[in-house]
Amino acid sequence: MELGDVKGRSPWEDAWHRLLKNRAAVTSAIIMGVMVVVVVLGPMLSPWEGDFTDWDHTFSPPSFATGHWFGTDAVGRDILVRTLEGGRISLLVGLVATLVSLAIGVTYGSVAGYYGGYTDRVMMRAVDIVYAMPFMFFVILLMVVFGRNIFLIFVAIGAINWLDMARIVRGQTLSLKNTEFVEAAQACGVQRRDIIVRHIVPNLLGVVIVYATLTIPQVILVESFLSFLGLGVQEPMSSWGALVNDGAQDLESAPWTLIFPALVLTVTLYCFNYIGDGLRDALDPKDRL
């Protein structure tokens, strides 16, 4: 038997193949890709500027004749451009706040898991303490104290989510140290560095990627929640949450002001959730939420 010719597939390749078989996730990823491109480039191609008020067409329904394909709002601003520009903010908040929570969570969790013992216990007790706080209240308080500021939104929302991330990463690090395949690798005399690179990191990374993907829609939701309470970004900047909030006020008299932003927001959340699910199934087929 020629062992040398058998090519082992790395766990990543396996995962990739599993992911590609997941039609919902692939479709979602394509939709999101298109969405990102449209949101980034769309406003530049539009004949309207986001803050341009078309006084001849205030609250006008969607129409090709007026040039406002998605209609206009109460002061005659083009809903399509507003939705795209709002998308920039929403996606940016989703991305940056997720990165913030990732950075804090992964560092904290891996340090706790790696050092273990007393350090671990103290650090995790601290997480327990913070975990029990009514967090949304603190975000509301923060927004009240420091005013509406997009960077604060990033940090405030990121600061909510790092706790879960820290717990997951710590647990994963801890359990990976004692898994059979790591022990097996150790028994086979595989070098420590290789164990970390080939076994621990990929396994950690999988969880992190999955969790991050699922955090993005949560963050977008939190931001829209803040916008709904009137604590979101500053005009003329907008976000999907802010647009949905505006639209919900005029649900009947001007349904287009709600429908388009709400649809785009829902589709985005839907897609991110499906991508996250798909990634989880692909990277960690045993663990389904």
Binding site: I129, M133, G241, R288
Partner: protein, 315 residues
């Protein structure tokens, strides 16, 4: 160490942990709300300086912040949250006493609904894995997670209150028909999460050895599901109860606002905007305590239901 002693020790540890948690909670909230610009007595028509000064003395707002903080700590040891600054003649305890039963009713019913409906959907989907039923119900569940409740609520009101006229549009008088729409709105995302959780863990349980054994013994499928599979499958759902409650509290802020329900969530937002220091602090502490107690209960329930868990050094 035996399992029961482990649980007991863990319980005591957790209970002791409540104290620092509350202390951190109180401290952050106290200083955060004081840092906010504007005070509780600021209004468009500014009060005369003398009256302002008298008010400050009366409510000890003239003292150094640290002294106020220590005074407040001493005060809450007796569970006295003090008078509200905004609602005249009301103490914060009274306001919580008014608002919390309302929030609790809506939240509790939503939780109940979510767990019953969510579990049924989840189990059904798991039993028909990879069929149209599965995809359909999971797609629906995903929708529940993806549509914000401030979009769903106006749509529900329009449909059921305005067009069909079956239910009131909002308001509160403790009658059941006023509770229907808020409870559904609040429950929808939780239903979705519970359904997904149940489906996932049910599939896993159904593939496990002891279920195969039960089936091999020739037990009817119904008995296999209800007597053997359901209990372990619900474990993750139970541990989800903690975060779910926190989510409900957040959601209640919006739902109470849209449906004009006089619950605690709306008191909090108004309190924060009005710089009603004592009310904000009272609600934060109260909800913090509630979340802690719930997490604790869930933890204990989980340990009790799942004999595999051992609370020792490894946790």
């Amino acid at each position: 160490m035996t399992g029961h002693a482990g649980i007991l020790r863990h319980a005591i540890q957790r209970l002791l942990g409540v104290i620092p948690t509350l202390l951190v909670l109180v401290t952050i909230a106290f200083f955060l709300i004081r840092v906010a610009p504007g005070g509780p007595f600021d209004a468009e028509k500014a009060l005369p300086a003398e009256i302002q000064a008298n008010l400050n003395v009366k409510y000890h707002l003239d003292e150094p912040l640290v002294q106020q903080y220590l005074r407040y700590l001493g005060q809450i040891l007796t569970f006295d949250f003090g008078p509200s600054f905004q609602y005249k003649d009301w103490t914060v305890n009274e306001l919580i006493g008014e608002g919390f039963p309302v929030s609790l009713t809506v939240g509790g019913l939503a939780m109940l609904l979510a767990f019953v409906v969510g579990t049924v959907i989840g189990v059904t989907a798991a039993l028909r894995q990879n069929t149209a039923v599965d995809y359909g119900s999971m797609g629906f569940a995903m929708l529940g997670i993806s549509i914000p409740n401030f979009v769903i609520a106006p749509l529900l009101i329009l449909l059921f209150a305005v067009f069909l006229g079956w239910l009131p549009a909002g308001g509160w008088d403790w009658s059941l028909n006023r509770m229907v729409l808020p409870v559904i709105t609040l429950a929808l995302p939780v239903i979705a999460y519970v359904a997904r959780l149940t489906r996932g863990s049910m599939i896993e349980v159904l593939h496990s050895n002891f279920i195969r054994t039960a089936r091999a013994k020739g037990l009817p499928e119904r008995a296999v599901i209800l007597q053997h599979a359901l209990k372990p499958a619900l474990l993750p759902v139970i541990s989800f109860m903690g975060p779910a409650t926190a989510g409900l509290i957040t959601g209640s802020v919006i739902v109470e606002r849209i449906y004009a329900i006089p619950g605690l969530g709306s008191y909090f937002v108004q309190g924060a905007l009005n710089r009603d220091y004592t009310l904000v602090m009272g609600v934060v502490i109260f909800y913090g305590l509630l979340i802690i107690l719930l997490n604790f209960t869930v933890d204990m329930l989980y340990a009790w239901l799942n004999p595999k868990i051992r609370y020792d050094e490894k946790r």
